[in-house]
């Protein structure tokens, strides 16, 4: 009886230790083949060239302002209940662990897909919750959609007919442009802090 109980315990323990989440193994498998846990896109075009207005009302030339740096570009909106705050919080948490030089070598750019509600003040306040160095950009809906389409992302869907608390459908991936361009890495929703911690140093110094 005791032997049976012991065997059952060992069996349960070994099963427990072998259970792995499939998305973890996918990310780790990618890292084994490309070096990055994100989705590696080789031979990609240079980072996009667009100009929008930042949350302080200044003109922000994306290509010029992020030149020679790692740029993490994301399209979202501040009323987003899930994807946007999770991505921003994850990047901010891992960025805080980097050295000062590494932090200076990267720029996180959040382009609002909902310029009607995301006022400059709201962008300052919302992004400031994560990291005051994050840059928030605004443009017209048409401008933002055009940039997204240029990056092979779907244009945002703004369900304004649903009333003032409308939801915005938008691409959920963060796009990483390494300092020298030449490739991109895509981070879909589900990217964990462990993935950022693994990839950010490599993206900063590919």
């Amino acid at each position: 009886m005791r032997l049976l109980a012991l065997t059952a315990c060992v069996a349960v323990l070994s099963v427990a230790c072998r259970v792995e989440a499939p998305e973890r193994t996918q990310a780790e498998e990618r890292a084994r083949s490309t070096g990055y846990r994100g989705i590696f896109l080789p031979d990609a075009d240079a980072r996009p060239d667009f100009v929008l207005t930042d949350m302080n009302g200044e003109t922000f030339d994306f290509r010029r302002e992020t030149e020679g740096k790692l740029a993490l570009l994301f399209f979202g909106y501040t009323y987003c209940p899930d994807v946007c705050p999770v991505h921003m919080a994850s990047i901010a948490a891992v960025k805080r662990d980097l050295s000062v030089d590494e932090q200076r070598g990267m720029r996180v750019v959040f382009v609002t897909a909902d310029p009607r509600r995301d006022t400059p003040e709201r962008l300052v306040s919302w992004l400031g919750n994560f990291d005051p160095d994050f840059v928030g950009l605004r443009g017209t809906e048409a401008e933002v959609d055009s940039i997204m389409l240029g990056l092979a992302l779907p244009a945002a869907i703004r369900d304004t007919a649903a009333g003032p608390d409308y939801a915005v459908g938008h691409a959920s991936q963060v796009i990483a442009f390494p300092p020298g361009d030449g490739f991109r890495v895509i981070y879909p929703f589900g990217t964990r802090q462990a993935d950022w911690k693994h990839d950010l140093p490599r993206l900063l110094d590919p």
Binding site: R2, V12, L13, A93, F189, Q193, K197
Partner: protein
């Protein structure tokens, strides 16, 4: 949730009916206290599983941990203390049940199984798989409640009789649990990164980030679990102290 509460109330009623009718005054006093203990156990489960703790346990590791504390450490001893005296006597009169219980609730086996459940149900891969479905979440709650019953049984339940497992050993048993709790606590509190995908990627609730939430969960396990276990150790100590005092008899006066 309400089904569980109804089941527990019905079970209490059935246990009361199952009690023999030879109950004396001592039994009546025990059963009055038992009723309150049972009520406390049901209340702990209700708080653990219903809104807001139950709902938040899918979003916050700290709420999940609070649920664990209530389900595995608070509710089981209260439910066991809530069993009427007559029901214990009826159980003691069934040799097969007693033989099985003697093995399963042996302190070493009980603590091993409970720690195994604690370990297993806090593994990131297990939490991430089970907590995303209602059935999985129910499985975790059931494991906690069952494991908690098993863990507390040698300390609280009078059947089977274990004369050698006296108060000092019970205190040692509980103390060992406070030590064993330290391992998951340390992992959660001092982990550099969030362990659980379900909580890391959940829509944010309140001001806690994923790492801070995990640290709060670890502290809850250590401090909350410590409070429960040390309270139990203190109670065992005073029970031991009182019994020794009764054994020695009244202090003679000049």
């Amino acid at each position: 949730m309400w089904l569980l509460v109804a089941l527990l109330v019905a079970l209490f009623w059935l246990l009361g009916r199952a009690s023999d009718d030879s109950a004396g005054a001592a039994d009546a006093s025990h059963d009055r206290k038992a009723r309150w203990a049972w009520f406390g156990g049901v209340l702990a489960l209700w708080v653990a599983l219903d809104w807001p703790v139950g709902a938040l346990s899918g979003y916050l590791a700290s709420a999940h941990m609070l649920q664990y504390l209530l389900t595995a450490l608070v509710a089981p001893p209260l439910l066991l203390l809530g069993v009427p005296g007559g029901a214990w006597r009826r159980l003691a009169s069934r040799p097969v049940a007693v033989r099985i219980l003697r093995f399963v609730t042996h302190p070493l086996i009980a603590i091993a199984i409970f720690q195994l459940i604690l370990f297993y149900t806090h593994l990131p891969s297990v939490v991430d798989r089970l907590m995303v479905t209602q059935l999985g979440s129910l499985a975790i709650d059931t494991l906690w409640l069952g494991g908690g019953m098993l863990f507390w049984w040698p300390v609280v339940a009078p059947v089977p009789d274990r004369p050698r497992f006296g108060y000092p050993l019970k205190m040692g048993y509980l103390f060992l649990s406070t030590v064993l709790n330290t391992m998951p606590y340390a992992f959660l509190t001092f982990g550099e990164l969030p362990f659980y995908g379900i909580y890391e990627l959940a829509p944010p609730v309140g001001i806690l980030g994923a790492r801070e939430d995990q640290q709060v969960a670890g502290l809850l396990m250590k401090v909350g679990g410590g409070v429960v276990l040390w309270t139990a150790i203190t109670i065992q100590f005073f029970l031991w102290f009182n019994r020794e005092g009764e054994a020695e008899g009244p202090v003679p006066t000049a």
